[in-house]
């Protein structure tokens, strides 16, 4: 029986995708591969952008500490983009629906997994601030909320095709985790279709590695 909370999450999931701070919606007809690995999970997402306001992808997410994986369909909706001569702001709804399965000999049976949230960012060529959150409901496996804030700056402004470098700090909050608030300084390198992020979570001593490739 689907409860009210699950039903609402289902709506969010149908509205919305990747929780990455990279652009989760591409140009019309574009494909994007996103890998993310943080202190608790690793994920891979491949999405296609049929229109400039939404993308649809398939995502696999491995929750290392809890020994379960989620296989989901992952839509993202660009709800609003603010344009300026020197800035861009975005508001996205993201989510997904799929199956949660045990890994590493976890004997629990499969459960429906559904998640949703929002992501927003504001960016110039030298400043970036972003926020994202997600609520995940995966039966016996997890019922968890997370949110993260990120701010960064570019020490120089590269032009088209140059190597772009960003220095960022991410603060994430996961109320259900013993270390509920952690900090991760990271470096973002950006060149053409490739974006790579490498950082280190100072609170729990875990690396962060993300990459996005757009084609």
């Amino acid at each position: 029986m689907i409860g009210a909370r699950t039903a609402l999450l289902l709506v969010l999931g149908c509205l919305a995708s990747a929780t990455a701070f990279g652009r989760p919606v591409s140009y019309a007809g574009g494909w994007t591969v996103i890998e993310e690995s943080d202190r608790l999970s690793s994920s891979a997402l491949v999405h296609y952008t049929p229109s400039p306001t939404m993308s649809l992808g398939l995502k696999t997410e491995v929750n290392r500490d809890s020994d379960f994986a989620i296989y989901s369909v992952h839509p993202t909706l660009l709800a609003k983009r603010w344009f300026g001569a020197d800035y861009q702001g975005n508001l996205y709804f993201h989510g997904g629906i799929g199956v949660a399965s045990g890994i590493n000999n976890n004997p629990q049976s499969d459960h429906m997994a559904i998640y949703g949230g929002v992501m927003a960012d504001w960016e110039t060529r030298s400043l970036f601030v972003g926020y994202r959150n997600r609520y995940l409901e995966a039966g016996e496996y997890a019922s968890q909320f997370m949110q993260a804030f990120r701010a960064g700056f570019a020490p120089y402004e590269g032009d088209s095709g140059d190597l772009h470098t960003w220095l960022m700090l991410e603060i994430d909050h996961r109320p259900s985790d013993p270390d509920s608030v952690t900090a991760t300084p990271l470096v973002r390198l950006f060149k053409g279709p490739l974006l790579i992020e490498a950082g280190y979570n100072l609170t729990v001593n875990q690396p962060l590695f993300n990459f996005t490739y757009r084609f």
Partner: protein
């Protein structure tokens, strides 16, 4: 359930912040854009006339690359469009991908310094302002202004 309520509350607050910002700045940006283009790329034609105090002449002109110059030499029409929201290489990539698919486009360059899209059409080809605006939307961006011919080259009086 309280977490979900918290999520919705934060979402609402976030939306309000963005809407407030948009009302203050974003909705008027296309009309204000020219005022912000007060610097020019090192390789643009407008660099010769960017210090004479005339706002219109300070707008970015065609950026010269090998492809652009080659297409110009073949007689293609130069076009420069001011683009709103291009702040990173993904933006430039998107514009390149969308415009390069058009057979009318012989050469393209997105200049992040001037936020200008430089196009040179194939000889005899044409591309309307509306089509250029629509293609920019397909890439996820907006066009604020389009200049052609001598004006695009920064040579208009």
């Amino acid at each position: 359930m309280h977490l979900l309520i918290k999520t919705v509350a934060m979402t609402t607050a976030l939306c309000l912040c963005f809407v407030a910002e948009a009302q203050e700045h974003g909705d008027h940006m296309p009309h204000d854009t020219h005022e912000h283009h007060d610097h020019t790329h090192q390789e643009t034609d407008s660099g010769h006339s960017s210090h004479d105090g005339h706002e219109s002449e300070a707008r970015p002109a065609l950026t010269h690359t090998e492809d652009i110059d080659s297409a110009l030499a073949k007689g293609g029409e130069p076009i420069v469009a001011d683009v709103l929201g291009v702040v990173c290489d993904f933006c430039a990539l998107a514009m390149n991908k969308i415009f390069s698919k058009r057979e009318e486009v012989a050469a393209i360059y997105v200049d992040l310094d001037t936020k200008a899209l430089s196009l040179v059409l194939a000889p005899g080809a044409s591309l309307s302002d509306q089509t250029i605006a629509d293609l920019a939307i397909q890439a996820g961006y907006r066009i604020a202004d389009i200049r052609r011919g001598d004006e695009a080259l920064g040579m208009a009086s």
